[in-house]
Assembly symmetry: C2
């Protein structure tokens, strides 16, 4: 039964990959048509001499697979010398490659590559992992594989079952037609692969037992840890790529996605059922995505899918809230009062000199518009959205658990821990440099007393605080600078608005639509700046994180994300925060306005309130950002890049030979795709959008609708990118979405306080309430507008700020302005009035109540929804006991062959107890079975 | 090397238990003086006949140990019949006991008991676990045991090391003199016990390899899962105890704590170095506590110790804040103004008719006193305490991790899960009843159509929603009732205060110290009520949780804790909340007072502000609760119980024979102790105290000091209880303190908002600030008192409420009262003034800022302090790789004996990779080691 004695290469019928034998030969396999290519390393070589390679002339293959056709690179093959003098760097690289490839072969991998026949060109090293290597690594990596045992997933109650069936029938046109989706009733028991327990697994075909993603993952693991002593003893392929020794390393796609025939592969299936706009209405085939791309990308799409489906109810309610605003617009007393030309509220001029007094009824339009977003329904909507965010996060936790169960991810913490331990190449380089410096210093210690590094470092092989300090300082300073830059740009736009408004007011022709022009242009400037800075900040964050030299990939990613998030968040939201909370609050009052520069007054909000402007700002930035980023950055730029590279490839001679271009190998095709660079930009885009949906939802209830529309496209766009435009990413196992979850829940919490302030401070909700219940004579809002306007005695306007050539139709003694201040005839004129303070109290009280209520409700929701779905936790328990039972059965059959005369006297009860106890102490089982019999061997008194 | 072939009972020198051979014989061992008693089951028997037992007359022992001396209980020994007719219940119990004991023996345990020689009495079944059972169970339970390998714990840097050594020298008198404490530099590598890998462990003596706590834990595990088919197939000893078949089950203490000799055992050591008031200044020997009592109790004392030590800095700062108050009392302008007799503020009368006008300066004393607690320093103190709470919780997480590392608790989740799966006996009974009912119903289905239970239950072996509904309803209703009861008692005390104050005011003699009398008596009533209800609510919570019939012990405990916490929290804090936030806020104003009953005005706060009263209330309740609960409930009641039981024992004849009373066996001694009932009361007391320390710390900065003083005693009190007064508890493994942590962090969060409101609403901090910066003419507080007092025109007092026989020395036209209201001469007299609203705004703004700032700082602290200390996470990593190395070495030596010619060609690098990979796939190691050699056995192309 020892697996090692079985023949390794047997029939190579790839059951999951029903390509014709012909197609398989040319695409996915070694030259022998049997061994599958699991991974490809690409590098670019250049030679001076044009000698033919050291292989036999008839062969264009230099199969270096495991010591048979390949030669020992350390022997210094005489062929190398024949090749003529290469330049030193190329030679060095070549040697490093040879050593690395030799080490890979020593690790058991089989390699194949073409001979370097031309003066320069790309060489693809194809790697195949034989069964021994796969099993060994699967055991080390504790990859869970299905055992022979299948079991039924717990059936629901009869009613729930029927309902579920009905639901399934109803949604069947929405289901992608993917084979995996058919049998969700049964699940294979999984158990970490172990060569000792080979009889547990249902190994029909050793070539297909591990699927392609797992195979390439295993090879990638080996590549990551194989050292190359010549290249400064660096560990792994990542360092070699970083040092330009290899150009790229990638696993192969499963085939072409747009091949014309009937032959199907997972990639084609994904393309047809998932990565097309035509199937936008369908559910995502998450299991297939996970199978093809690995758990990390699978989780991203699962998350995106859940988020998108959660946007549906919030969109519906958002639209209802909006429609409620539309429907009640005629009944809104304050806007009616504003529009009523008989209420002649003579307003103070909006700018010095050139502006005239004006009648409030001229702002009727904005008042009516702002009612659409500033009505009591939005308060409930923002409470709803805060709870929605909590519900979403809770449901995500549950979905994550569910997927973790179905994907057999339970108990992979240790693996993650290991992943953390791989140091990044840059870190290793830095440590080496430091060690070099230290050793220098010990030699010339007296000469270099002014060095900053000191000797009392305990462990020299780490970067200490002192080594990192410059990086941290640089980071801190740069981030501060970037934030200051963002703020100053926002301020710049404000100044632009103020000055342009003033300039336009001078010109009579443009005066009528000053506000519209200025607002629109300013928002567009903001948008453009945001888009540009977004790209810059992304690059800056990457650069800053590199300066920091984090030790592992994971810390690198986390710090990069945090920095990029901070910068992009500030960038995207600072103009919005300005409009929401600062605009119009530092205006001063007639007679003592606040001036930015000499003669330029601080800008005010439109008469309808700042909420309207906030809404415009939000909608333009959100929509513009999504449209432009989707179209230009995600579709346009990659297309351009592709075009550019194609052009470049064509101009470079000798790169593509005719045979390849006619029947390009899969590795050629994949090489021409863009490399995969991680999920960070995709997540980041969604997180910023999540911010738009939650943070200011009180002022813009339509945000979820726009987000929903965007995401329906976004899912397919990302899918298309992954399936058609990127090289296949390495399958990465992970249990959760990591730091993104913390960021999401942080935004969720932050949104509570932001919404509280938007409702309390930006909207007119509280003043209306206060008026209605404290000041109104008949409990209605009649007279509210009058109540919110203070009087100003125009004779007290400062010299030179009065309107020139007033065309106002009546003599003005008092003009009105929007504020709660004492009238000119009070003992302390223009001081804040009692109303001001009572309204302020009400606003603040609302913030406290809203914040604490919503936080309490969120905690309640969090507490009420268990993180692990009950059925899943039941299933996990059931799986555990099933596993032990299955295990015992299999073991028992093995034991029958051995002589084991000990009586199993305790029967079923003892066994069930053991089942529980032994669920993971399985290895000690056979012995345990023998030893259970009580007191049969020892002496008694 | 097979451990099973070794002789089981060999030399019985218990190294850790250096009692004289004589003492050991009579105390801790079977009659053969060799086998240690690991567990004792006690039961009480009664016989009608007085025949001698069926043993031989010379022997008083009925050793039933494993089928040698004992007889088969199922054979129905003829001796039983000879005994004459027992009553049916006794007979039934006896049979159940016999079956259970038989099953225990089948599980491999060895039993010994005395013959039932008298007509009635207690019988102790002593249980010994032989080596086979211990090893089997240790493997099942995955008990980590030390391996042969020791390793040094990472040394700190030279400076840190020196500092640490200095610190250690300094604190050496504080260290308990316990052997374990000496070598903290070295740690044994631990690995779950496995009989296959017996060569890993350093087994010098099979009797002492597992310490006493582990041995008894193993026996307890077996007891818990052994079934008894006669007793309705109940599982485990707990059901049997619940059904009165056994009286008690307990492991033995290690000996006597106060034996006079030099012989030392762990219990005595604990008593001398820990469980005495004399050593109150010493650190706790946590490792020894854990060794003796198990991890759960160890964690409690570690938590209590950390909490107590964290109270030291907060006490110091609390005292400083208090002293600052004392020092600045002379400079406090408002209290000086109040005491200044020249500022003749004529105050409105405090009650109708019988009270006179009074001068504010008469309240000088309280004003000065309240400055002690109401000064700016308390604001900073309450911010400090909020952060302190976060710091404490973070540090607890770290300490927990650290202890988890040293106690080898990493990776025991599965074990915990298993513990959850044990159903409680009550739950099983209920399920059985339900099943019975169901089967009844299917028979007489037509007859019982009015039953509430329905048939469409999916799984009959569970309690569904419908079965639980009555319990939940009862719970909900009872909790609501209890809370309503608490509130009504609080209201009752208020009424008492109002009426007594009114009554006393009528009497001239008592009038002078009405307030003091009333406040003092009311607080004492509150205290008494709290103490009584505390006990009642504890019982009620237990009863309610029983009604709920939770499935497992863990859910039972959690629900009990939640309920008890809710009830006790409401009970302890509702009078305090009343004083802090409600008292004096519904008084009304002169001329339109609010009346509770006819003629009784709502009570007001003292002129110094409610903070002073809050402070009195807090200090009396906190101190009284601690003193009385400590002295009466924790010291007095147990003493009384003991006395009572002693008296009862003495009056019952034939119970104690002379031999036993002279040389009582350890099981006799332990049987006379109180049974251990869990840590819930201890935790609960501390959590309520934590509430006093954090929730209202703004009003009572001395709370930490009192808590500290209490806890220094509490530690030793609890220690004494565990060491001397309780039976030895079962050692329970657990990783954390469970739900208590959530409750603590909940209190911490709640304290932020409570403190914000105390400072903003209860104290005078905000009004002073507002006055100083907005109304004061010169930026000082001069005139503040005048500012806070409104005017009232005495002619507007309602008819019949004017003071009778006013003795005030001058004619009163306006009296003053503390509120911000418009003066009588304003256009809208007695309405809230602008000051009122501006102060209110400031108060609310303060709440918002304080809450969000402190919450943000807490999150920051939480984020900055990693949950796992860096050195521990390093150590865990190091331990893992060390373990694999050690493992490989041991394995290698084994492998040398076998023929394994495969060359290990990849050397150290491959090995280090394996080390990482294999850290817990250890069982597959030997095979892995053989298979690593690459490509040596298979064919290549």
């Amino acid at each position: 039964m020892d697996p090692e004695n079985l023949p390794v290469i047997n029939n190579y019928l790839d059951a999951s990959d029903p390509l014709s034998s012909e197609a398989r030969v040319s695409r996915m396999h070694f030259h022998d048509n049997q061994r599958k290519v699991d991974y490809v390393l690409a590098y670019h070589y250049r030679k001076r001499g044009a000698h033919p390679a050291h292989g036999s002339p008839g062969h264009s293959l230099a199969i270096v697979s495991n010591g048979e056709t390949g030669k020992d690179p350390h022997a210094g093959g005489p062929g190398d010398i024949e090749l003529g003098p290469l330049d030193a760097l190329e030679e060095e690289r070549k040697e490093q490659r040879e050593e690395f490839e030799h080490n890979l072969m020593e690790a058991g991998l089989e390699l194949e590559k073409d001979v370097e026949s031309k003066s320069q060109g790309s060489v693809f090293v194809r790697i195949h992992a034989p069964w021994q290597v796969l099993t060994r690594e699967a055991e080390f990596l504790k990859i869970k594989v299905p055992t022979k045992k299948m079991y039924e997933i717990k059936a629901e109650g009869s009613i729930a079952k029927k309902f579920n069936e009905f639901l399934q029938k109803l949604s069947s046109p929405l289901q992608p037609r993917v084979p995996e989706h058919s049998n969700t009733r049964m699940k294979n028991l999984s158990y970490p692969f172990s060569r000792e327990k080979i009889y547990l697994y249902n190994i029909q075909d050793k070539d297909t037992f591990f699927d392609n993603a797992t195979r390439s993952r295993i090879v990638h693991e080996i590549l990551k840890r194989t050292a190359c002593s010549r290249a400064n003893n660096t560990m792994g392929i990542n360092s070699l790529i970083a040092n330009n020794i290899y150009e790229a390393a990638y696993p192969l796609h499963d085939g072409e996605y747009d091949s014309p025939g009937d032959d199907m592969n997972d990639r084609k299936l994904l393309y047809q059922e998932w990565a097309r706009y035509g199937v936008f209405y369908k559910f995502q085939p998450i299991d297939l995505i996970r199978k093809y791309f690995g758990e990390k990308i699978g989780l991203y799409f699962a998350w995106l899918g859940l988020y998108t489906s959660f946007l549906i109810p919030s969109s519906v309610i958002g639209v209802i809230v909006f429609l409620y605003g539309c429907a009640t617009i005629e009944e809104d007393i304050p806007s009616k009062e504003m529009c009523d030309r008989q209420n002649a509220f003579t307003m103070c001029p909006l700018c010095d000199k050139s502006c005239d007094y004006w009648n409030l009824s001229s702002a009727c339009g904005t008042a009516r518009a702002s009612h659409l977003f500033d009505n009591p329904a939005t308060v409930f909507f923002s409470i709803f959205m805060a709870l929605w965010a909590t519900m979403f996060l809770e449901n995500w936790k549950r979905l994550q658990m569910r997927l973790g169960y179905f994907w057999d991810l339970t108990g992979i913490e240790e693996e993650e821990e290991r992943a953390q331990e791989h140091s990044r190449p840059e870190y290793e380089t830095k440590v080496r440099e430091k060690l070099l410096k230290e050793s220098d210093k010990t030699v010339v210690q007296k000469l270099e007393t002014d060095r900053t590094e000191s000797d009392d470092e305990d462990d020299e092989d780490k970067l200490g605080w002192k080594d990192r300090f410059p990086g941290y300082l640089m980071n801190f300073a740069s981030i501060l600078f970037m934030i200051a830059l963002t703020f100053s740009i926002v301020f710049g736009v404000i100044v632009y608005r103020i000055t342009t408004a003033a300039a336009l007011s001078l010109n009579k022709a443009t005066r009528s639509n000053v506000r519209v022009t200025v607002t629109a242009t300013a928002v567009i400037i903001n948008l453009v700046v945001i888009l540009i800075l977004d790209e810059i900040y992304g690059a800056v964050a990457k650069w800053l994180t590199k300066i920091e030299v984090p030790k592992t990939e994971q810390t690198f990613e986390e710090r990069l994300i945090l920095k990029a998030f901070l910068l992009k968040f500030v960038n995207a939201y600072s103009p919005i925060f300005y409009v929401a909370f600062f605009k119009g609050r530092f205006v001063g009052r007639p007679g003592s306005y606040v001036y930015v520069f000499d003669g330029y007054r601080m800008e005010e909000c439109a008469p309808g309130g700042c909420l309207m402007e906030l809404c415009i700002q939000l909608s333009i930035i959100m929509l513009g950002k999504q449209l432009i980023q989707n179209n230009i950055f995600e579709i346009g730029v990659p297309k351009l890049k592709k075009l550019f590279r194609k052009l470049k490839d064509e101009t470079e001679p000798g790169e593509t030979d005719s045979a390849h271009s006619k029947h390009p190998e899969q590795w050629d095709l994949d090489h021409s795709l863009e490399p995969y660079t991680g999920l960070t930009p995709e997540y980041m885009e969604m997180i910023i959008q999540f911010g738009f949906v939650t943070l200011f939802v009180a002022s813009f209830p339509l945000a979820p609708v726009f987000a929903l529309l965007n995401n329906v496209i976004e899912v397919r766009l990302d899918a298309k990118k992954f399936v058609t435009e990127l090289r296949r990413p390495d399958a990465v196992r992970t249990k959760d979405i990591g730091i993104w979850f913390d960021i999401l829940s942080g935004i969720g919490k932050f949104s509570v306080i932001i919404n509280a302030f938007v409702i309390a401070v930006t909207s007119d909700f509280i003043p209306r309430l206060v008026y209605q219940y404290s000041y109104s004579h008949n409990g209605t809002l009649h007279g509210f507008i009058n109540h919110t306007l203070s009087f100003f005695n125009v004779s007290q306007l400062k010299e030179g700020t009065q309107p020139e050539n007033s065309h106002f139709d009546q003599e003005v003694q008092f003009c009105r302005f929007k504020d709660y201040r004492e009238p000119p005839w009070a003992p302390n004129p223009y001081e804040f009035s009692k109303q001001y303070w009572s309204v302020l109290s009400a606003r603040l009280a609302f913030v406290i109540i809203f914040q604490n209520l919503v936080m309490f409700l969120s905690v309640l929701v969090d507490w009420m929804i268990p993180d692990i779905p009950t059925d899943i936790s039941d299933q996990i328990k059931k799986e555990k006991s099933l596993l032990v039972d299955f295990f015992l059965k299999e073991e028992h059959e093995k034991l029958k062959l051995m002589d084991d005369p000990a009586p199993r006297s305790q029967g079923g009860e003892d066994r069930s107890r053991q089942s529980r106890a032994a669920s993971s102490a399985l290895s000690g089982r056979s012995q345990a079975g023998r030893a259970v019999s009580p007191g049969s061997q020892h002496t008694n008194v």
